[in-house]
Symmetry: C2
Subunit: 453 residues, 2 copies
Amino acid sequence: MNKPSIPKGTRDFSPLEMSKRNYIFDTIRSVFALYGFKQIETPAMETLQTLLGKYGEEGDKLLFKVLNSGDYLSKIDREELVNGNPLHLASKLCEKGLRYDLTVPFARFVVMHRDELQLPFKRYQIQPVWRADRPQKGRYREFYQCDADVVGSDSLLNEIELMQIIDTVFTRFGVRVQIKINNRKILTGIAEYINEADKIVPITVAIDKLEKVGLDNVNAELAEDGLSKEAIEKLQPVISLSGSNEEKLDVISNILKDSEIGTKGVEELRYIFGVLDKSNLKNEVQFDLTLARGLNYYTGAIFEVKSLDVQIGSITGGGRYDNLTGIFGMPGLSGVGISFGADRIFDVLNALDLYPENAMSGTRLMFINFGEKEMAYCLPIAAKARENGIATEIYPDAAKMKKQMNYANNCNVHYVAIAGENEINENKITLKNMLTGEQRLVDADELVSIVKS
Amino acid sequence: MNKPSIPKGTRDFSPLEMSKRNYIFDTIRSVFALYGFKQIETPAMETLQTLLGKYGEEGDKLLFKVLNSGDYLSKIDREELVNGNPLHLASKLCEKGLRYDLTVPFARFVVMHRDELQLPFKRYQIQPVWRADRPQKGRYREFYQCDADVVGSDSLLNEIELMQIIDTVFTRFGVRVQIKINNRKILTGIAEYINEADKIVPITVAIDKLEKVGLDNVNAELAEDGLSKEAIEKLQPVISLSGSNEEKLDVISNILKDSEIGTKGVEELRYIFGVLDKSNLKNEVQFDLTLARGLNYYTGAIFEVKSLDVQIGSITGGGRYDNLTGIFGMPGLSGVGISFGADRIFDVLNALDLYPENAMSGTRLMFINFGEKEMAYCLPIAAKARENGIATEIYPDAAKMKKQMNYANNCNVHYVAIAGENEINENKITLKNMLTGEQRLVDADELVSIVKS
């Protein structure tokens, strides 16, 4: 008999971890709902037709594919089986795959349910996704995404509300964050301005490294990427942009004054900052020209959130993407969304020890079991405690007192109720506070009122 | 471009369905917690080594298997590929499969985490499972199970608490149910008593049909199954058992007085009924000798729950099984558990229209959008509403009033806030109750207090 194991990159979650994770999910969920977002769920498996080609060539390889049921070999000819290309053969062996993210299933959902949906549709979705990535520290093959998106509205109010949601969620967590915002239109404008429209990706990648490697190295990399000397020169004021959001926007606005799309991007950001400035956010929102996040995906605003107190990379991200549903034959729907990284947020809250005590509480009251007769006395009192909403356990076996107390201790039970012959004769219970060690002889009503408070 | 679809037997859940499902899961979850059960989660994928051979030959076929990543063909020789048995080949193409139930992963969890666990371990788990069953009405390839189990305790108090949990859950749902209980030891005793110990399965199957086909047909079936005339004769008082739980137990007790195991089963049931009789259950618990539920699995108590008002089959079931973890090399751990059938409970609550209104509520307040200037006025009021916990939407686009009102209507928004030039000049908002049609001119504080109440 081999020792049982679980697939690499996957995890079991213990009761303590579940309490923490539920606290994270419940907090995010309740803020989504506060802003009028509505929850949906989609199946873990999607057809490979839905999934393939949506995440690039690398993504296709990272999809978990599910073997067809029944005689999965019957429709494949021998030649293909023996000499075929594994990727192509896989799509004959498998019709289904596991969800890789929540965005493609959402787009598929919108197209399939277009006639039932009320647009704009504000949906949120909190479900696991699966990726056959090489497992490494902090990267898993099964992990949760927490996404909120609005489709069917071009209004910048959506961007603003998503910033507010981010601010509210992290304020509730007690995590200080920096929210970064950029706009793809500005990046496009800059590439146009230096006459290198096709080099937008390497430009952004290089600029992104400024803080780490310094200006000279950035410029060297840009030259290596094939940017002309003139272009690099023109880019200098952009790279060394600094100051307040307003100051940065003024400089960029001036640089991009002849670019229609760039000017549009600046206007969008100005409007967003204008409203946010009046909305008492608890966290700073910073215009960061180097923010790109999978550039080809986004068409307008780009967001990213980092913890100020824990070095862990991006803990939330998102942006606006036009034509979400075009891949499924329903063009013209613009969307904007954010995704909270639950696993990293879990690590941040752990590092800062920010879980509130009441979110961690399990069983509050446990009855010691001395045997059938004593149990007959305790059961109605336990029932009364439960009727009052107190999470109550009765130790099921008449084990040694020490074993039962150890159990209570290890399970972080707050109060232990003890009723032996003496207590029963007096119609009382000895109630022990496990945190203070204090013991009191009480009746059932007192017990409930003490334990409940 | 093909129309997108989802794999057969799987479902999308709309916001309304999610509200209902969350109500069901939250109710079950909170009762589990009230009884001191602790939540765990396990990965969707388990190794096939963990899954295979645990659900019978049929079950192995119904497992969804996940194709190995990378070059999944490299370790398979050509001969096997072309001529091999598909099931055997599948176990070379695939190392992982999707969870088929929550019990086997739980057993695997207990064995893997034995050193961290506090026994008795009361765990609950609410997660989807996947089965490649032929899809049909009410049967899905992805569905949720809601399981609570206690391992590491032989005490009948566990059985009693599980009955109380069932009673509490369905009382909270407002669903009237009949809880049936039987004991495998009694069934074993009966088979011994009629000298047909090896025929326990056909005996139970035949008795189970009594109500449907009548006594003569049951006896005919028993004869067909190869039971001797004498055995069938001896079985008559058992088949025609009737009366109260106590009366039935008295008859059975007398019949089984020479069977050690049968007498043990009767004693167990007597103890359970004795305690339950004093615990004010809202639903009836009935001793049902015909209840078997996958007989080979259970070793003690067997439970089943049926709705009294909707014909839909079993909506909850469970029982005691010895040696849960023996399959993974850790013998001697007894377990007892129940599983709520969320999908059928969903159907029952739908049929009886039992969803409470507050569980169904989405956005409570929506602001009509007349444009940037009006929005600047509304945003701080919306923020105030949200600070007061009111789920609030701002219609993101300055669309036609009618379109916005339609949206509010179709999304079941309770209150709509309207602020045009007049309202802004007076520093007020027109608040419309969408249920009554009533409109009032109010200030921000009044708005909050009306909408909140």
